[in-house]
């Protein structure tokens, strides 16, 4: 019976994971999923519209789901369709998060006006947009590091509005309801335009006014567009993808419009006039065309859209938590069966994370760590990997608990980092070196993982020892050994990673070491680990001292990982962020609190109160 429990739970988890991995399905009669697979060039990368919709929503409101005022839930791609084709509706969707009270006051809004108390629509902001623009201009003159919270909120909101407007202008003409009907009228005129070129303007053209009006619109669209969804007629160079405005401008000269541009117009007509059959047909034809002309782009687009909808890191986070909880309970009750279940769940989540990271690597053609977001994923992945090894060796639930906690925590961090935009962004010039990304960056990130893991094991030691009576002599000894072993590994990897970084710096900048903040951060981790090892070897610390030092290692690593980016100086400051500052402060405070807890005399720890089992 007990054996079955573990198996059944594992199978349920696996089944749930498989369920999330199956292809997404349409909820209505429109093939919104198919539309989400259409690729486009944005920020230098070809990606499916589904990704565009999701990242835009994350940046605007911190979540991917849209709930309309009538409590209708929209998929991200469905929302994007309305942004493109039914702006009058999209403007009423509450998708802009505003929490700053001063900014709300400026916009004449109250929290009670917003969906969930914090999400507002363009329509609600409309009367005060000019004032917002003025405030943003004022804030623009201030360096981002010294802006007030109000200024930051104003700049952030206006960036979100610009993003929204640019999406709209990429496909639709700003402020016109008859744009797609006009395009339909323009198309038959195109050949006559080319014939009439020799004669004076308007000669032989049935509707010269229409052409002139539209030509102006196309130029405006091209200036404002963020998307370039029209593939080149031939060739696979990303640079050659065009915006809709540019494609129609080119059509005026050539007498013929790119089929994809026509597709976007036809889709708009179908979506506006609520014609599902026509809509689905346009989606299908476009996908077939692209599959023929741009097969490589389409394969990536399909995989990425599927990756988006299956949200592997979300499922993994849930399973990590379950594994963590079962692991903790296993120390108090049914150690055998719960311990095994926790470990199996950890393996399932680990496999899922591996799959997710591997997919990202394939999509990007890059090593696993390319930006802060992916470093969070990878720190978690490597940490959990080490935990799997530890659990295999020791089989006492410690690996599962630490793995579950690290896996979950890093995925939560990653989720927050994803709010900054596309997580598969293009690499900035200085980082564009797969060799060094694969060696230096990966090694140093594993060093972070191992140092964090030692710290987590130490947390387990202190919390279990002080708060529960479950830390017996054997578990205490094995935990101490684990901490020591992991610290050895952490020293090795962070040291090798730092040295590799020095070599990269010498190769690129002609100096091995420049005391740059990020370099200093890596050095601090190495020195801290060296202190741990020497303190242990010199006999200056015993089990508790080692645990306390390892917990402080968490602070050092968190500082190196995020703290230095908050300084905003140095050659490495490509990952600047200030939002996480208070998160870091909170983390440091929590670690210090646990260090204080560890300072309680050993004989008063709950686990050590009565003499250890003799």
């Amino acid at each position: 019976m007990k054996c079955k429990f573990s198996l059944v739970v594992t199978l349920i988890a696996v089944a749930a994971v498989v369920f999330t991995l199956r292809p997404p399905r349409n909820t209505g009669e429109y093939d919104v999923v198919g539309f989400g697979r259409w690729p486009t060039l944005v920020n230098g990368r070809l990606k499916p519209l589904d990704t565009v919709a999701r990242t835009s929503l994350l940046m605007m409101q911190g979540r991917q789901r849209v709930v309309t005022a009538e409590a209708r839930t929209l998929a991200p791609a469905e929302w994007l369709l309305d942004v493109f084709y039914r702006p009058e509706l999209a403007d009423t969707y509450p998708v802009f998060e505003i929490v700053n009270p001063d900014l709300l006051g400026l916009l004449n809004l109250a929290t009670t006006d917003g969906a969930g108390g914090k999400r507002f629509s363009v329509r609600q902001m409309l009367p005060k947009l000019a004032e917002l623009e003025r405030q943003t201009k004022l804030a623009d003159g201030v360096e981002s590091a010294v802006r007030t919270p109000f200024q930051r909120a104003a700049v952030q909101l206006s960036n979100a509005l610009v993003l929204y407007q640019q999406l709209q202008d990429s496909i639709n003409a700003p402020g016109r309801n008859d744009f797609f009907a006009q395009l339909e009228r323009l198309e038959p005129l195109l050949p006559t335009l080319v014939q009439g070129q020799a004669a004076k303007v308007g000669d032989g053209v049935a509707d010269p006014k229409l052409v002139l009006v539209l030509a102006a619109i196309f130029a405006t669209m091209e200036n404002h567009a963020s998307l370039r969804p029209i593939p080149p007629a031939a060739g696979t160079v990303a640079q050659d993808w065009m915006g809709v405005g540019a494609a129609w401008t080119a059509a005026l000269g050539k007498g013929q419009v790119a089929p994809a541009a026509k597709g976007y117009a036809a889709l708009g007509q179908a979506w506006r006039n609520r014609q599902p059959e026509k809509f689905n047909q346009v989606v299908r034809v476009q996908l077939d065309d692209l599959g023929r002309t741009q097969p490589a782009v389409m394969t990536r687009s399909l995989i990425e859209a599927r990756f988006n909808s299956s949200e592997p890191f979300y499922s993994a986070a849930v399973i990590y938590v379950l594994g963590f909880l079962l692991g903790v309970v296993s120390w108090l009750k049914w150690p055998e069966v719960l311990g095994r279940t926790a470990f199996r769940l950890l393996l399932v989540a680990f496999a899922l994370s591996t799959l997710g990271i591997a997919t990202r690597m394939w999509l990007e053609s890059r090593p696993p760590v390319t930006n802060l977001y992916s470093s969070a994923l990878f720190v978690g992945w490597a940490g959990v990997g080490l935990c799997v090894v530890l659990e295999r060796l020791h089989r006492n639930g410690v690996g599962s608990v630490a793995g579950g906690a690290i896996g979950f925590a890093t995925l939560v961090i990653a989720h927050h980092l994803a709010l900054g935009g596309d997580t598969l962004e293009m690499m900035r010039a200085v980082l564009d070196s797969n060799f060094w990304l694969a060696t230096h960056v990966v090694t140093i990130t594993i060093g972070y993982s191992a140092t964090f893991l030692a710290g987590f094991l130490a947390l387990i030691y202190v919390l279990r020892g002080t708060l529960t009576g479950s830390l017996n002599q054997a578990s205490a000894t094995s935990l101490t050994r684990m901490i020591y072993g992991v610290v050895c590994f952490a020293t090795l990897t962070s040291f090798v990673g730092t040295i590799l970084g020095g070599i990269w710096a010498d190769q690129s900048w002609g100096r091995f070491w420049g005391w740059d903040p990020k370099e200093n951060g890596a050095l601090l981790i190495v020195i801290w680990n060296a202190i741990l090892l020497h303190a242990r070897w010199g006999g200056f610390v015993q089990a508790r001292g080692l645990a306390v030092l390892a917990i402080c290692g968490n602070i050092v690593t968190a500082w190196s990982w995020f703290g230095v980016n908050m300084l905003g100086v140095g050659l490495h400051s490509y990952g600047f962020m200030d939002a996480a500052f208070w998160g870091l402060v909170g983390f440091v405070a929590s670690q210090l609190a646990i260090v204080a807890l560890a300072a309680i005399p050993l004989e008063r720890w709950r686990s050590f109160r009565r003499p250890a089992a003799a």
Binding site: G44, W504, S508, G510, G514, F540, G568
Partner: protein, 417 residues
């Protein structure tokens, strides 16, 4: 009697020496120094926000004592990089000499620590020897010198001979000291009258003159007034030093001149039939090669401002004419020539001007030697551990297996937490 005092003194000396030795070889010292170095590195990282990277290196790492200013007092607050690093160096060497015993088991760790010594020495030497300068080239421009980021020099050029210029450069520090300058090649003495580490120049008007601004007799300085500004450490700002100098020949004063990096052209004057030019400019280091910028490219990802690559195509010519070739410098691919590294550091002027950083570090090989030693040491150490571990497992395989499902138990030895 004298023998007893002698022996007492000797035994005291001996015990003092022993204590000194024990202190120097102790691991406690290692730990304390490592702790100090953490504080130092951390403080230096934070202070970069205020001081910028160059000043921080001078203040924290290339110093014996870190001073801080409290009000008008300058107080020593912490041992600097030289002190901590030097003591760590001594501690490492002393401990290893004192406890040295060659065994294979220890050889790995010894190699690692020896590599660390080389690394520390390497950092010391590159601190002393490394020179950074920048080379700014606009498309079509040729230069055979690099310019300093922070140091300036007062330059007097004798341009009488059309075939060549005779250049006498006086470092900014000498100007700052306001000492009178006499140079064998100069037929006059230079007396710095005022020196401003950072200043802007404004037009001289009746009101500035009334405010007591110094009157300058010659050159463009006649029409200008110096407004001192605070010295800046910010990496994105430049100090513009200025000075007022008086030149005195055998027959008395030739007059005063205002020199400043804000005055772009050299000021010309005649003395004893020779033509001189006077200017304050950034310090120049001459290169054994001249570089011409053919093309600077700033590639962006399609439809964005995200930089994809920066590259400079240059023509490299040596004065002896033996080398005349094109080179391409781009991100992660610097030019290494004549002991110098030229890397792509920036751009300006609507993508038509490239900024190359020129680094000269004669001790650049030391970190590589150190890394090799340490890598070998680590391989040896972990290789031996691994062999030992495999050996143990083999031995264990011969004995009866642990019962399945057994919970973790201490493997060997007494269990002491």
């Amino acid at each position: 009697m004298s023998t007893t005092t002698e022996s007492i003194r000797q035994s005291f000396l001996r015990s003092a020496l022993r204590e000194g030795r024990d202190f120097l070889v102790s691991m406690k010292l290692t730990l304390v120094l490592l702790g100090f170095s953490m504080v130092l590195v951390f403080a230096a990282t934070l202070d970069q926000v205020n001081l910028g990277i160059w000043a921080v290196q001078e203040k924290y790492f290339r110093s014996f004592v870190v001073y801080t200013q409290v009000g008008s007092l300058v107080l020593p607050v912490f041992p600097g990089g030289y002190a901590v690093g030097g003591l760590l160096f001594l501690n490492l060497i002393a401990a290893h000499l004192y406890r040295f015993a060659f065994t294979l088991r220890k050889a790995g760790l010894q190699l690692v620590h020896f590599g660390l010594i080389v690394l520390l020495v390497g950092e010391l030497l590159s601190g002393l020897w490394q020179r950074d300068a920048h080379l700014r080239l606009t498309e079509g421009e040729t230069k055979s010198y690099a310019q300093s980021f922070r140091d300036h020099e007062l330059v007097l050029i004798d341009t009488t001979d059309a075939a060549f210029d005779d250049v006498i450069a006086i470092p900014e520090a000498v100007l700052a000291s306001k000492r009178s300058i006499q140079h064998p090649k100069l037929p006059f003495r230079i007396q710095p009258k005022s020196y401003f580490p950072n200043a802007s120049l404004i037009a001289r008007t009746a009101s500035t003159a009334a405010a007591g601004a110094e009157k300058i007799a010659n050159g463009v300085g006649e029409r200008l007034t110096v407004v001192p500004r605070a010295y800046t450490h910010r990496p994105d700002e430049q100090n513009e030093p200025a000075a007022i100098v008086e030149l005195t020949g055998a027959e008395g004063s030739l007059g005063t001149w205002l020199v400043s990096t804000e005055i772009p052209m050299a000021q010309e004057f005649q003395h004893e039939g020779r033509t001189w030019r006077l200017t304050l400019r950034t310090h120049r280091t001459y290169l054994p090669v001249s570089l011409t910028l053919l093309k600077f490219s700033h590639d962006r990802y399609a439809g964005t401002d995200i930089p994809k690559n920066f590259s400079s195509r240059l023509r490299l010519v040596t004065p002896d004419g033996h080398e005349d070739r094109e080179v391409l410098i781009y991100m992660n691919n610097p030019l290494r020539y004549a002991g110098r590294t030229f890397y792509q550091a920036g751009f300006q002027n609507d993508d038509r001007t490239t900024i190359l950083q020129v680094v000269r570090n004669p001790s650049w090989t030391l970190p590589y030697i150190a890394c090799t030693l340490m890598t070998l040491g680590l391989l040896l150490q972990f290789g031996l551990h691994l062999l030992g571990f495999i050996g143990k497992r083999r031995a264990a395989a011969g004995t009866p297996a642990v019962p399945a499902g057994a919970r973790a138990t201490p493997v060997t030895g007494p269990a002491t937490p």
